[in-house]
Amino acid sequence: MIVVQDVARRYGATAALDGVSFEVPEEGTVAILGPSGSGKTTLLRLIAGLEAPDAGAITAGGRLLSAPGRVVAPHLRGMGLVPQASALWPHMTVAQNILFGLHGLPRAEARRRLDELMARTGLAPLARRYPHQISGGEARRVALARALAPRPRYLLMDEPLTNLDGDLRDALLALIRGLVGETRASLLYVTHRPEEAGTLGGRVLRLSAGRVVAGDAGAAAGHGRHDG
């Protein structure tokens, strides 16, 4: 379980986040809904360990990950991150992008995981292509596969379906739900689209001007996907 407790982050005089608290249950889903500039991306970066909070604490599985003056390195948190623009590395092929996080595994095991993910995401024919040779929808699937390859306990997604049209978005959303369910990762999903947040089937929190202004009580707060 990820626990975010009274977290604050300022950039100069601007408070990006101000006393934010919530929990992401084990194997559960939380969607953070809010307009541009509400602090969604900052929140995700703080949880990923890419920035340090000015106040408050972030723990995962009972382990303190972030507090003022103490931040566990991003690669030691067991988290996967899917940035908004996919951010595939242009000098690596699709397969190399996904393999990046599997360094340290025996080669055969890494290969097996790669093949499994490529087959599951429909990317197998694109393994040797470079990011500029694939479409926007395919790039989102590669970013998802890359984040899930090391089998993280927690998956953080920052508006992963922005600027995709309706059919593509629905198909990708179904793929995300399926993959996250299969890997049993906890999902924290940031979006500005209420329908996307609702479709995920977990708890929905609304963020405005750096504060949590409302939670969706009807979405069974604190309940995971597998709780029924």
Partner: protein, 572 residues
């Protein structure tokens, strides 16, 4: 409307042809003379073009020195670039500014300063019993070239790192330690600009003879000057230069292949690593050492020159007597910068557009090749072109050093303007063309202001490099006139004296002044005119072929046509 478009294209073509002629005519004259000599049955040309014996050794020495300088420069560039990249934005901007200003200091100023510093160090070591070492040779020439050219390598490496998307770093950090993120993600993505720095250092060292000759290192570029001084036959000089030119052309051709990979967006102002990266001590140690070397690169010339100059009793007289040369140098450099501007405006956008199309490679080679031509050859070419009956008035005038500087350095201004053009979103120009009745209005009111930073940077580069130009000016300076650089070079062979140090300080001050002024105006312009990439739609990116990818995966080609996202076999 079609006749107007036709006339516009024709005018652009004529202007581009004139600009190319200005840059390439010295070489063309040499080629014509050499062809006539070979076809006329002149013997011995093969022995000139294919170096053997001593000349082969000189060529190998030149190539090895250039390669060693390029490799050391790239290593220093990467390490110091990474060290500067992780600084907070304000300090990083200041450091970047200082690095580019330092790049304007001519190599011979470094030669004098490092000689003086090495001499002082040697005297201290000898006084405590160390043996005396010779103050000349390959090692010292290599060190001085690396120090003189290091800011170029560091500046380009930093520009490459700063152009990286923060999301690319963010996506990697949860997966691997920061060292792997740096080595596997950041550096490969910045590689085109790092390699461009290496290629530039290779070419500048390969074609330079001033620094090697000061340390008594024989190089091939010096052989060209010696050959022409002995025989006064331009065709022989060209044939002799062919092996060097081929080597340089090879590097330019490789550079041409990498150019489209250069980043389209300028350095990001924000923090690339929100949370400071955690690197192992060995990596931090290497970066610190590189940073210290970079600081020494800035401090040693200044301290050594001031120490030498203040010890010179007749310094004031020397500076007074050099007043004419200082004014003449400034005049030549200013004229070269002014002439380079229309050349860059005529060829830069064409080069940027052409790179994506057929024949773009040849256009790039034509524009960039003069940078790779040894300086003495440009001087010899100008003599071959203009030293003719009826042209004495021009040949004996100050136009010759200006033409030499333009032929050597205007291609750099062309490349800078081309790079600026590639950063301009074509949509801005499309909108201007639709709204303006006449094409020239769109050019004047929209394209020119967007290109202004590139124009200014290009002119600044041409000005400062012209101020330090030696190889070609030595051959074409009009009778009775001398530039400050010529005077310093002549003095330098007599050793590091206080007089020369004083004159070098003048050059240093002028270079720093112009460099700082150019950078300050560019910074002010940057604040006034936001980077166009920030005005592009979210998440759009520009591909090597010049097409733009929209967030839905569709592409807008350079000609404005639209390609659907499914071209790459796209399924959801």
């Amino acid at each position: 409307m079609s006749w107007r478009v036709g006339w516009g294209a024709a005018a652009r073509g004529v202007l581009a042809a004139l600009a190319l002629a200005l840059v390439l005519s010295p070489l063309a004259a040499l080629v014509a003379q050499a062809a006539a000599a070979v076809l006329g049955g002149a013997g011995g040309w093969a022995s000139l073009a294919v170096p053997t014996g001593r000349r082969a050794t000189l060529l190998a020495q030149s190539a090895s020195l250039a390669l060693a300088v390029a490799l050391a420069g790239m290593a220093l560039g990467v390490l110091a670039g990474v060290a500067l990249w992780r600084l907070p934005p304000r300090q990083r901007a200041l450091a970047r500014w200082a690095v580019w200003v330092a790049a304007f200091v001519p190599p011979y100023v470094h030669a004098l300063a490092w000689s003086a510093a090495a001499d002082r160090l040697q005297r201290s070591l000898v006084s405590i019993g160390f043996p005396r070492l010779p103050m000349r040779g390959w090692g010292l020439a290599w060190w001085v070239q690396v120090m003189a050219l290091a800011p170029l390598a560091v500046g380009l490496a930093l520009a490459g790192l700063q152009s990286l998307d923060r999301d690319a770093i963010d996506a990697a950090r949860p997966l691997r330690p920061d060292t792997a993120v740096l080595l596997r993600v950041a550096l490969p993505m910045a590689a085109p600009l790092v390699a461009a720095g290496g290629a530039l250092l290779f070419l500048l060292t390969l074609t330079d003879y001033a620094v090697p000759s000061l340390f008594q290192v024989g190089v091939y570029a010096m052989e060209l000057l010696t050959e022409f001084s002995a025989h006064h036959e331009p065709a022989r000089a060209l044939l002799l230069a062919l092996p060097l030119a081929l080597l340089a052309a090879l590097v330019v051709a490789v550079g041409q292949r990498m150019l489209p990979l250069l980043p389209q967006r300028p350095g990001a102002a924000g923090e690339a690593w929100g949370l400071p990266p955690r690197w192992p001590p060995w990596l931090v140690g290497l970066q610190t050492a590189a940073g210290a070397l970079l600081m020494a690169q800035l401090a040693v010339p200044l301290v050594a020159l001031v120490a030498l100059a203040v010890a010179e009793p007749a310094l004031a007289d020397t500076l007074r007597s050099a007043g004419g040369e200082i004014a003449y140098s400034l005049g030549v450099a200013a004229a070269a910068a002014l002439v380079a501007l229309p050349v860059a405006l005529a060829l830069g956008p064409m080069l940027a557009r052409g790179m994506a199309g057929r024949g773009g490679g040849w256009l790039w080679l034509l524009a960039a090749f003069p940078v790779a031509v040894p300086a003495p050859l440009v001087g010899v070419g100008l003599i071959a072109l203009w030293n003719r009956p009826g042209l004495e008035a021009l040949y004996d005038s100050s136009a010759m050093p200006v033409l030499a500087a333009v032929a050597r350095f205007a291609p750099l201004a062309v490349a800078v303007v081309a790079a600026q053009w590639r950063r301009v979103d074509p949509a801005f120009l499309d909108v201007a063309r639709v709204l303006q009745a006449r094409p020239w209005q769109a050019g004047l009111q929209v394209a020119l202001p967007l290109l202004a930073p590139g124009c200014l940077a290009g002119m600044g580069i041409v000005f400062v490099l012209s101020l330090g130009e030696l190889g070609a000016t030595l051959l074409v300076a009009p009778p009775g006139r001398s530039t400050l650089t010529l005077r310093i070079y002549n003095y330098l062979h007599y050793g590091a004296s206080g007089d020369v140090a004083g004159l070098c300080l003048v050059v240093l001050a002028l270079a720093l002044l112009v460099g700082a002024g150019t950078m300050a105006v560019l910074a002010a312009w940057g604040r006034l005119l936001p980077d166009s990439s920030r005005l592009l739609p979210d998440s759009s990116r520009v591909l090597p072929d010049g097409s733009r990818v929209l967030p839905d995966g569709s592409r807008v080609l350079p000609d404005g046509s639209h390609v659907s996202p499914d071209r790459g076999g796209g399924t959801p």
